[in-house]
Amino acid sequence: MASTSAAGSDITGFTRELFMGRLNSKFMHPFPEPKEEDLETLKMLVDPFSKFMENENDAAKNDRECAVDEAVKESLKPMGAYGMMTPEEYGGVGLDHTGYARLVEVVGAHDLGLGIHLGASQSIGYKGIVLYGNKEQKEKYLPKLASGEHVAAFCLTEDGSGSDAQSIKTRAVPADDGSGDFILNGGKIWISNGGLAEVFTVFAQTPQPDGKDKMTAFIVERGFGGITNGAPEKKMGINCSNTTTLNFDDTRVPAANVLGEVGGGFKVAMGILNQGRFGMGGALTGTMKTCMKYAAAHAAERTQFGKKIGEFEMIQGKLAGMATRLYATESLAYAIAGNMDRGVTDFQMEAACGKVFSSECAWWVADETLQILGGLGFMREYPIERIVRDLRIFRIFEGSSEILRLFVALYGVKAAGDDLKPLQKALKNPLANLGAIVGPAVSIARARIGAPEKPSLDFAPAQLRPAADVVEDCAARLGAATRELLLKHGKGIVDRQLPLERAASAAMEITAATAAIARATRAVSRSTDTAALEVSLANGFALEAGQRVRALIRDMTPSSEAGTTIDPLRRDIAKSVIAAGEYPARHPLGF
């Protein structure tokens, strides 16, 4: 199945273009999908795996006991669950991205904690060996990792280094015996599988010839010595996953265990995270579907005031909001996986959007499910309270919502800035470059008066025009607002996080809406049995998202009320809070 073709390698990302007011629909349409025979194989894989998860794994018990049941783990090993994407030649199942997304959807539907145990090993723990390892490293480590005989852990985060990964303090210096080995010292925190793993991907600073430190990635075996882990952390959720501190005390790492190049560790770390991020959308799609089942059943069964509560509009509004978000999340997740499978290499911004979007939608969906279930949802006998606890971390780890919003916005703004460079250059010497100014200046002027060059989703059929119109309008507005922001702030834009946050949120919603439209378009063209429903879901999502996006974009521009008044106020209030170290206002009673 890992038949990555080069067919899509010339397709560029979707989200970056949005910041220039363009819709690169090639990324989304035709909606990417596996070959017929790969789909058939995948169908065969899903069934027994779902039955296994349904019948054998007890998520509530795992949560209660803060560990994955040993018998379940033993069964998961021959099942192939520890090496789903690892190439077959190294004993893995050899799934492509779409296949992996579909199977982790099954895991996410049943037990997110188990999902983290499995994902921490293969999606990040030893992904580096698959992506950057040399032949010897792959042959030595992958077979035992793919079979689950060993599990792996990804070790980046430290006490003083979270989102700012470059600031890690763990160091590896060449041994003074001239062997070329490294001596590793330092401490890591919050390492998933930290207490179970046999193999670690460890990031550490290594001294460079110029005297400065640069990050290097290492494959470290527990047996190398000097490695200790703390007790399992007590957490809010994903309790059955093992999370510990990890300490390296003069751990000797052979030169052969450098992963990638010495000094190339940051690239390795980001590569692993970027490559692994797509899976979260798949897993959380499964979680949301589980929530929907409970919400739908309760809405259909619970009677209050003589009616089924599903007949009340407030409950209907919630169910529709859940379904449309789920449809958008699912569409984006499989669009990203499908593009990775067809060889598209420019997917990092979309994967970041997918991670943020899926984790926030899943949180929203689980919360609304709990609300629909009322008191029942709060009870331990129902799985929803566990799902809510399990979900909370997804907005934090593997790139927090905030850091990924900055990532998306800054890359988008940078692209828009590059696009504007000829104009900026020309502005420095206006008389000599009159021609260069006139073109872009005219389009900026047009953007300002609300008539930008119109981006188009011309593939959308008539039924999906409402959604397509919204997306086209929002893309044009985002492009115009980004230019305005750039012209106002120039390089200073990097510090204007509030408008950047809005720009990223807008881009994420538009990206997800476009994926939903492309997928519904395919359903229409094939007249599938749920085509009409999918049209409603895509239109429903896009229209609602459009309202949010227009407000976000309105508030993005420097001349808006948000830009001129609200944001400065918020900055001042925050300063007061931090200065006071607590709620700074006087009590209404004065004491």
Binding site: M1, K43, P78, M79, G80
Partner: protein, 254 residues
């Protein structure tokens, strides 16, 4: 010894079925299909015989449209060695009836010379429970139906089979070749593992046109009508046990 296992593609046990508009059949156009659970038990038993080195080869046989290959692949993923797909466009839940199925299997027997046929005792779509018996009759082989335990003798000339019968358990010995049908408690089928499913893609499935086997496929039974089970009537609540007893008596239930 070579063991042939029948695998039928039937509506998934958990699927909700609807009746066709003409009330002549269940609507299977958009229903989840799966391997018939009793056939899955038969496959598991055959694979265990192979793992115990009793059987050298396990061949999974399915009759039906193109999609029948899905259940053959599943049997291959569980450990069967190869498959035979007998193709027909007849609906296997009612058009192709037990006698025709038994005749097809008998025809394959002559050609491939298996030492045993392991079948599910019945399929959950038509609930016929006839193929194993008819096949034994056509081949003039002994039959051991509703097996809950199968033990093949060391010389592989006979099998001791424990049968679940109304009064309890009956243990019989049958000389091989024989037809054995699996009951629910014979074993718990394994979950096909992901690596084995991938490997199953490379195993061979031979295709035979049912019409080429020279057997009469015509049905003996005509389906007059298929209808849904009566929907359950709403219950009613009673105050206490006395009221319950009174009501049960009044309704003639006590």
């Amino acid at each position: 010894m070579r063991v042939f296992v029948g695998v039928k593609r039937a509506v998934d046990y958990a699927a909700k079925v609807r009746i066709q508009a003409d009330k002549k059949a269940v609507d299977i156009s958009n229903v989840k299909m799966a391997i018939n659970p009793f056939c899955e038990i038969a496959v598991e038993e055959a694979v265990r015989l192979k793992e115990k080195k009793v059987a050298e080869e396990v061949v999974a046989v399915s009759i039906g449209p193109k999609q029948a290959q899905e259940v053959i692949r599943q049997a291959l993923a569980m450990g069967a060695d190869r498959g035979i797909h007998v193709t027909t466009d007849m609906r296997v839940d009612q058009e192709l009836q037990p006698l025709a199925v038994a005749k097809i299997m008998a025809a394959l027997t002559g050609e491939h010379d298996p030492s045993a046929w392991l079948l599910g005792k019945q399929a959950i779509d038509d609930d016929s429970n006839q193929v194993a018996q008819m096949l034994a009759g056509l081949l003039d082989w002994p039959q051991a139906t509703f097996a809950s335990e199968v033990e093949v003798s060391e010389d592989k000339k006979s099998a001791t089979v424990t049968r679940e019968i109304d009064g309890g358990l009956q243990t019989i010995e049958v000389p091989l070749p024989a037809v054995i049908s699996a009951d629910l408690r014979l074993n718990e089928p394994r979950y096909a593992t992901l690596p084995n499913i991938m490997k199953a893609k490379k195993k061979k499935i031979d295709t035979v046109d049912a019409a080429s086997l020279g057997v009469d496929l015509a049905g003996q039974i005509e389906v007059l009508e298929v209808s849904e089970p009566a929907t359950r009537e709403a219950g009613s609540k009673v105050e206490d046990v006395d009221a319950l007893l009174a009501k049960l008596k009044a309704d003639g239930l006590l």
